[in-house]
């Protein structure tokens, strides 16, 4: 047999040496990726090579979906059509009032000599699959930089904010969900305008409102929408509803958990929002006070 070669034949470095070499190499890669994000170019190159394979793996599912679409019954189609027509009717009513409000808002802004809001373009994309790594909350969209997706863009579905574009490949893009660990989103409570920052916890179906004082005016069922002060997320997108508030006098802050508004698992369409207004330049560092990234916006 081939592995019984006598020791005087050359067999290369020992097993342990090879293990150490490859372990060290992967540890270096891990460290440089986790700390310094040096590996993005290489990652992009590998992702381009993997793209056709991914499409190949998606193919059976797509065929199955098409076949089941073909055999859909007339009654279910009619029911869906009726439901959509009803929704359309309701939405067009809302849209009419919104048009009037938009015009009024523009007029008021002109009166106050404020900067006009910049219209954001949007791009419809389909969710290809959710990441298979149980440690990350990500989905992969079928549009990439070739379709104009940009890193950092907000992604929404019909109910609210899904997440943010994290990595862009030529024909696909990775979206970090709002439930991803330490994904921070500046929000505002609709009821009273209180500003806060909501954090992902790293598992599905829960977000946390951190650094809110015990006496903050927050109730169960309050809707949180993006406040837009970071310039990344446009203002007014529904993010979550407050689900549970825990007051423990031992801690300076209340423990507030929320449930996300969007249904990431339930549908496959998503909308990538375009880049918004450019932020003004940062003040020179000498004058700027030191700001930490995770510092929340203070409640008024």
């Amino acid at each position: 047999m081939e592995h019984t070669a006598p020791p005087f034949f050359k067999r290369g470095p020992s097993l342990f040496a090879r293990l150490s070499f490859f372990s060290l190499l992967s540890l270096v890669l891990l460290y440089s990726d986790a700390r310094f994000h040096y590996m993005e170019q290489m990652r992009r190159a590998i992702a381009v090579v993997l793209h056709p394979l991914q499409r190949l793996a998606d193919f059976p599912g797509e065929v199955g979906e098409r076949v089941s679409d073909f055999f859909v019954t007339q009654s279910s189609l009619r029911r869906e059509n009726e439901r959509l027509r009803h929704e359309n009717f309701v939405n067009s009513g809302l849209l009419q009032t919104q048009q009037a409000l938009l015009a009024e808002n523009e007029h008021l802004r002109a009166l106050l000599q404020m900067r006009a809001r910049i219209e954001r373009g949007s791009l419809a994309a389909e969710i290809l699959y959710s990441a298979r790594d149980p440690f990350v909350r990500k989905v992969v969209l079928d549009k990439g930089s070739s379709a104009g997706v940009r890193q950092g863009a907000a992604v929404i579905d019909s109910k609210g904010l899904i997440g943010q574009v994290h990595r862009v490949f030529p024909w696909a893009s990775e979206v970090s969900l709002i439930t991803d660990r330490d994904q921070a989103i500046p929000v505002q409570i609709v009821r009273n305008g209180l500003r806060a920052v909501v954090f992902g916890l790293g598992y599905d179906g829960a977000l946390e409102l951190r650094f809110m004082p015990l006496n903050a005016d927050i109730h169960n069922g309050d809707l949180l929408v993006t406040s837009g002060i970071d310039g990344t997320y446009p203002p007014g997108l529904p993010v979550a509803t407050v689900a549970n508030i825990e007051h423990n006098a031992a801690y300076p802050f209340a423990r507030i958990t929320c449930t996300p508004a969007s249904g990431v698992g339930s549908h496959r369409q998503a909308l990538v929002l375009g880049k918004g207004e450019a932020l003004p330049d940062r003040p020179p560092p000498a004058e700027a006070p030191k700001l930490r990234k995770t510092k929340p916006a203070r409640a008024q």
Binding site: F22, L27, L30, G61, R132, F135, V136
Partner: protein
């Protein structure tokens, strides 16, 4: 090498055809594509890591055909496809290949059913490496269901082994019998 038939040795000394590197590459490739299937929910939790299984098979049966380099390379590819930390699966698969080569004289002495325990241990260790890397990076423990992939992988081992061996069985012509 002289092999003494162990008590549980169900397989007769079947002499398989020599393995071509192309066949090894093809099986790894197929396993990788199967790993890319867009699953979610329970099926995702139960999904065995087929790349790890196939690497393990070749590492045990033909340690000279695969080495650390394919394990490392496929690990990087899995990392990019999953959007996880760059190198976590490369590290885990390097450890898997080490374990496979370290036990490659011992495991084939057992029947396919008895090999399952060895395989389960190695797959579990591979997952533990990934878990440790993620813990070091600050992620939370996802829950005990995380290790289900090792269980299903070990259960699938006899089937995977038989499947990979199938094209290597010598073809016996009718007229020779």
């Amino acid at each position: 090498m002289i092999r003494t038939p162990g008590p549980g040795r169900a397989y007769a000394e079947e002499i398989l055809l020599p393995v071509r590197p192309g066949y090894v590459a093809l099986t790894l490739f197929m396993a990788f594509i199967l790993n890319l299937l867009p699953l979610s929910g329970v099926s995702l939790a139960l999904r065995p890591d087929l790349v790890a299984l196939v690497l393990l098979y070749w590492g045990i049966e033909h340690p000279r055909q695969v080495g650390f380099l394919p394990a490392f390379g496929f690990g990087l590819a899995v990392d990019v496809a999953d959007g996880s930390l760059f190198g976590q699966h490369a590290l885990a698969y390097s450890g898997l290949m080490f374990a496979a080569i370290a036990v490659h004289r011992r495991v084939p002495l057992f029947s396919a059913r008895d090999q399952v325990l060895h395989v389960f241990g190695i797959l579990l260790a591979t997952q533990m490496i990934v878990l440790l890397v993620r813990q070091a990076a600050g992620n939370e423990f996802p829950g005990w269901w995380y290790f289900l992939a090792s269980v299903t992988g070990a259960i699938l081992w006899p089937a995977v082994r038989r499947l990979l061996r199938m094209p290597l069985r010598p073809r016996v012509r009718e007229e020779e019998i």
